[in-house]
């Protein structure tokens, strides 16, 4: 399902990143970084809430808006009951929608907010996403300090939060159209190989987007997937070319590969993941390139794995989903 938007613009973004992201190549594009994973809080869950609060405060500072100037807040994260978002955004904005699309939440939130703005129900909206390496480890895997060796295909949940202000007033960057994806089951069940699990969703959404808009990769300066990592990225390129004759060799990359220096930062294995992964790359580095007009048109496809540890233990498949949004210089 592809929608066109006429009057939705990206006004500004705020990105807060953790220590591992700070060591990566995009350090200078983040608004604020931390040196440890607690940020002075007592637990990792509280630390993630602090990330969300920081992102909101930073966004309001950059846009000179107050809490009550924001019509709608749309956000999600990976914690149970999306508590990082709800606790972090309490008292901000006139209304709130919580969403869950796993790691695709960053784009899903933008699509929901864009729809509200495009249909003139609200004038502006803030989209929020966050993830925290340790709080996700604790929830989805083993205790955080437990050292079970991981395979090279495993991805590393990014620590960070981003807040974006979307508005109906013209700015430098326009949200031009969006493609909502559907849930894909490709019979995958390895939680240590999320690139392989989510690549089919990225492929499906890409194919749908090109079919419904009549576009090809050449229409974009850059096509970005969210957090497939280095193996998933190659799968997408290979499958798109051999099956649909869509050539992604020139202008395609993956945020999970861009967020870290994979050669130096061995702990990230195949690359970054988590809702914050695609958001940290897109709304810091890519957004600045769009503002400087070095990129004119970017397609961002955030991918998410839909599963729970319980269902994985019950030998059920891991589903995936991907949503795409097209950003262009206005």
């Amino acid at each position: 399902m592809t929608f066109k938007y006429d009057n939705v613009y990206l006004k500004d973004t705020a990105t807060i990143a953790g220590p591992y992201e700070k060591e990566g190549p995009l350090k200078k594009y983040f608004d604020k970084t931390y040196n440890d994973l607690y940020f002075g809080e007592a637990s990792f869950e509280l630390a993630e809430i602090k990330l969300v609060k920081d992102a909101l405060v930073m966004l309001m500072k950059k846009t000179s808006l107050t809490k009550n100037d924001i019509d709608l807040v749309v956000g999600g994260d990976l914690l149970n009951q999306i508590t990082a978002t709800t606790y972090g955004s309490c008292n901000v904005g006139k209304s709130f929608i919580g969403i869950y699309g796993a790691c695709s939440s960053s784009v899903l939130g933008m699509i929901v907010a864009s729809d509200f703005i495009d249909s003139k129900r609200v004038e502006n909206a803030v989209t929020l996403v966050s993830s925290h390496n340790m709080s996700s480890e604790k929830q989805f895997r083993n205790p955080t300090e437990y050292g079970a060796p991981k395979p090279d295909s495993a991805t590393f949940t990014a620590t960070g939060a981003t807040a974006c202000l979307l508005t109906n007033k013209k700015t430098d960057v326009k949200i031009e159209c969006a493609t909502l994806g559907k849930i894909i089951d490709y019979d995958q069940n390895d939680p240590n190989d999320m690139g392989r699990v989510m690549a089919p969703a990225a492929i499906d959404t890409l194919k749908t987007h090109f079919q419904e808009t009549g576009r090809s990769p050449k229409d974009y300066d850059l096509i970005l997937t969210g957090d497939l990592g280095r193996y998933g990225k190659e799968i997408v390129k290979d499958y798109m070319f051999t099956t649909y004759k869509v050539d992604l060799k020139e202008n395609y990359n993956d945020c999970g590969v861009m967020l870290y220096d994979i050669a130096l930062q061995k702990e990230v294995k195949a690359g970054g993941s988590g809702p914050a992964c695609s958001a940290l790359v897109s709304f810091s580095y890519i957004y600045s390139l769009l503002k400087e007009k070095k990129l004119k048109k970017v397609l961002l496809i955030a991918t998410g794995a839909l599963f729970s540890p319980t269902l994985v233990y019950q030998k059920e498949n891991i589903y995936s989903i991907a949503h795409a949004i097209s950003l262009e210089v206005a």
Binding site: E45, D152, Y186, D238
Partner: protein, 147 residues
């Protein structure tokens, strides 16, 4: 049903990891740990004038302490990543699993946090350790006689 074409393409872009290399590293690191334990055992025997059984208890306690301390200081998981499961096989892995679970749930309090979660990983070791001890005990009883 698996999508055959997708599986074929995905298998071309898989991480290549040498299990043999990991096993050799684990074998060596586990061996070094065992060597150190043996040295410690003899050390306790000689210094404190203990029997081998008593000294081995003391050696195990030392290892439990060291593994828990390294977990609490946050570098045991990094060591395991480098030296693989050789570090987890002895009593150290058990101590590590309990300490890491306890640390994770510290903030939820003594009852709902540490109390309810400390055996999260170690519980299965205890359960199946007891079950297999019973099982092998029975085999020994019927084959080797009651004595």
């Amino acid at each position: 049903m698996k999508n055959i074409k997708y599986e074929r393409i995905a298998n071309n872009h898989k991480s290549e990891e040498s299990r043999v290399k990991n096993a050799v590293i684990a074998f060596l690191s586990g061996g070094v740990l065992g060597f150190f334990a043996e040295w410690l055992l003899n050390f306790y025997c000689n210094i404190f004038d203990l029997s081998r059984t008593d000294a081995s208890t003391l050696m195990i306690v030392t290892f439990i302490f060291l593994a828990s301390l390294a977990t609490a200081l946050g570098f045991f998981d990094k060591l395991v990543n480098r030296f693989k499961c050789g570090l987890l096989i002895p009593i150290t892995g058990f101590a590590h699993s309990m300490t890491s679970s306890a640390m994770d749930y510290k903030k939820e309090g003594l009852i709902y946090g540490i109390g309810m979660n400390i055996f999260k990983l170690a519980g299965c070791v205890i359960l199946y350790g007891v079950v297999s001890a019973w099982f092998f005990g029975m085999i020994r009883y019927f084959i080797g006689g009651a004595s």
